[in-house]
């Protein structure tokens, strides 16, 4: 019985994985974009680190790892499919989801995780492997370290899904569901460490940002990769995964009751 219900989600996960495999051209141009921005960032940081072994606790190898991990993660955290859920709410297609067996939240999560895993394998893995071959990155080499990094990346992907879902759920209340997102995302982008690592932030700001769920998106996987306070980073990710999971699942249940489907 339990296996039966687990199987539903596994099937959805596989479907999500295959769904993402369709976009080959997007994958190619995504890789080109990641490589290009990685090279630019590497140039900028190499100039900054000339004659300086370490700044704010980050050595050159740490920052190179940050840059290329960021390029690899970009397609997962800022996924192109962010509005698919909101669009399905607006068009009313989401009503069908509510009729299907199982938990709607877990079904969405499983499908999304499948897509994210595909992006991790096709975008993050090649970017990281090539960068590590050409540049002195600091990546784990022990099986335990690699497993920890993989777990951290998967948790970051799920937390990104939870945030996407929270943004998308605005569609239950307003047709202009992108407005709030357009105001918040630039700040999230900066605060989660996608412009510069949060290590360079002023001390007070850094404390606030690293105590928020945004830490789990980008900086926690970087900590795990370079081997800085790995346990704390993983624990923080687990905590936010649980909190955001409970929150977004409850909100989805609440919002589903408001779903208005126009006839047609």
């Amino acid at each position: 019985m339990l296996w039966c219900s687990v199987r539903i989600y596994l099937v959805l996960l596989r479907a999500g994985f295959r769904r993402q495999a369709v976009y080959r051209l997007a994958l190619m141009s995504g890789l080109v974009t990641n490589a290009f921005f990685g090279v630019i960032r590497t140039s900028v940081f190499s100039a900054l680190y000339r004659n300086r072994p370490e700044v704010a606790g980050l050595a050159r190898a740490d920052i190179l790892t940050y840059i290329w991990l960021l390029e690899g993660m970009f397609g997962v955290i800022w996924a192109t499919w962010i509005w698919e859920f909101a669009e399905s709410v607006r068009s009313g297609d989401f009503a069908v989801e509510l009729l299907r067996p199982g938990d709607p939240y877990l079904r969405l999560a499983a499908f999304d995780l499948g897509r994210s895993l595909n992006v991790l394998l096709t975008r993050l893995a090649p970017v990281l492997v090539v960068a590590a071959a050409l540049l002195p990155l600091r990546l784990p080499t022990s099986p335990g370290g690699i497993a920890a990094l993989a777990a951290s990346l998967v948790m970051a992907s799920v937390i990104a899904f939870q945030l996407r879902l929270l943004f998308g759920m605005a569609a239950f209340w307003t047709p202009d569901y992108k407005a709030g997102h357009s105001l918040i995302v630039p700040v999230l982008y900066l605060a989660s460490g996608f412009v510069i690592p949060t290590d360079y932030f002023p001390a007070a700001l850094r404390v606030v940002v690293e105590a928020s769920p945004l830490f789990a998106l980008m900086m926690a996987p970087v900590r795990v990769a370079v081997g800085q306070s790995v346990t704390t980073a993983l624990a923080s990710q687990m905590l936010w995964l649980a909190v955001l999971g409970a929150g977004s699942r409850a909100l989805l249940a609440l919002a589903s009751r408001r779903l208005v489907v126009h006839g047609g």
């Binding site: 141009s29 090279v39 630019i40 900028v44």
Partner: protein, 298 residues
């Protein structure tokens, strides 16, 4: 919501079509064409002010993207003191010029992004554009002006004013002219890349994001001094996609810096030529794409 500007533009387009068709003489036609573009621009502007609250929120959002990026750069450069001898306000002058030019170009050319052009071709909307008696490029530009993207322009201008003062720019009329030249050249370069990308999408059909490497990557790269990059990147973004000529070279003049060998402040007069070169290439590519346009079938 997204469909609204296009509907407004289509209605205006029909009106315009009649207006243009009415003018038989060449002189009358020029007047009619100008009026046509005017009507289209007004229609797209009116459609975007239909929901003022949305427009304001989106405008602020567009400005915030630029500002957050700038805050990151300020925090970064302050940590290190300087990049390749450039202090924080000097770097922000570069970023300010880029954002301002980019904002201008995107407000008129955002619909030329590969995804939108791909959709326009696949839905057959572009077939209708071709039947109108005005230039297709003119129609796409004037029919879809997005003023919300001017938020980036405003943010860029604000950053430029602040950083210029902090960097000790005197802002004489000559300085203002150089800044205006940089912004205009940057806008032309960004717009030309948008047109180039659109022309490319006519042959790939799928929206290829590869052009975004040049579009967003070029702008990102120009936000830092060109000394940071290797000779290949520098040459590519100076002589092929002349972002450096448009922004970096005028910034050298504004800041009283000399720049590296081969890319000095003395190249200021080449900046408009560089932009004109890319604009010409983009125009040829666009014309070729239109001539070979066969639609996407259905």
């Amino acid at each position: 919501m997204e469909a609204e500007p296009s509907r407004a533009a289509a209605t205006a387009g029909a009106r315009v079509g009649r207006a243009v068709a009415a003018g038989a003489h060449a002189r009358v036609r020029t007047g009619a064409t100008v009026r046509a573009y005017g009507a289209l621009t007004m229609a797209s502007l009116r459609s975007s002010v239909q929901r003022p609250a949305t427009l304001v929120v989106r405008g602020i959002g567009s400005a915030l993207v630029a500002l957050c990026e700038a805050v990151g750069v300020v925090l970064l450069v302050d940590r290190f003191g300087s990049i390749a001898g450039w202090r924080t306000p000097e770097i922000i002058v570069l970023a300010g010029l880029v954002f301002t030019g980019q904002g201008l170009a995107q407000a008129v050319g955002n619909r030329l992004r590969p995804d939108d052009v791909s959709l326009m071709i696949r839905k057959g909307t572009f077939d209708q554009v071709l039947t109108r008696p005005i230039s297709p490029l003119g129609f796409v530009i004037t029919g879809y002006v997005e003023i919300r993207l001017l938020g980036r322009f405003v943010a860029g201008a604000g950053l430029l004013a602040w950083a210029g003062r902090a960097a000790g720019i005197a802002w004489t009329p000559a300085h203002l002219a150089v800044a205006a030249l940089a912004i205009a050249c940057c806008a032309v370069v960004v717009f030309a890349v948008l047109v180039l990308g659109a022309a490319l999408t006519f042959s790939t059909l799928q929206g290829s994001e590869a052009i975004n490497v040049v579009l967003d990557g070029g702008a990102y790269l120009t936000g830092y001094p060109m000394e940071l990059y290797g000779s290949v990147l520098r040459a590519l973004f100076t002589w092929v996609f002349p972002f450096a000529l448009a922004v970096y070279v005028p910034a050298l003049t504004l800041l009283g810096r000399t720049g590296p060998r081969g890319l000095g402040a003395s190249l200021l007069w080449v900046a408009p030529l560089g932009s004109a070169w890319l604009a010409a290439v983009a125009w040829l590519a666009w014309r070729r794409a239109i001539r070979h346009y066969v639609g996407a079938g259905s």
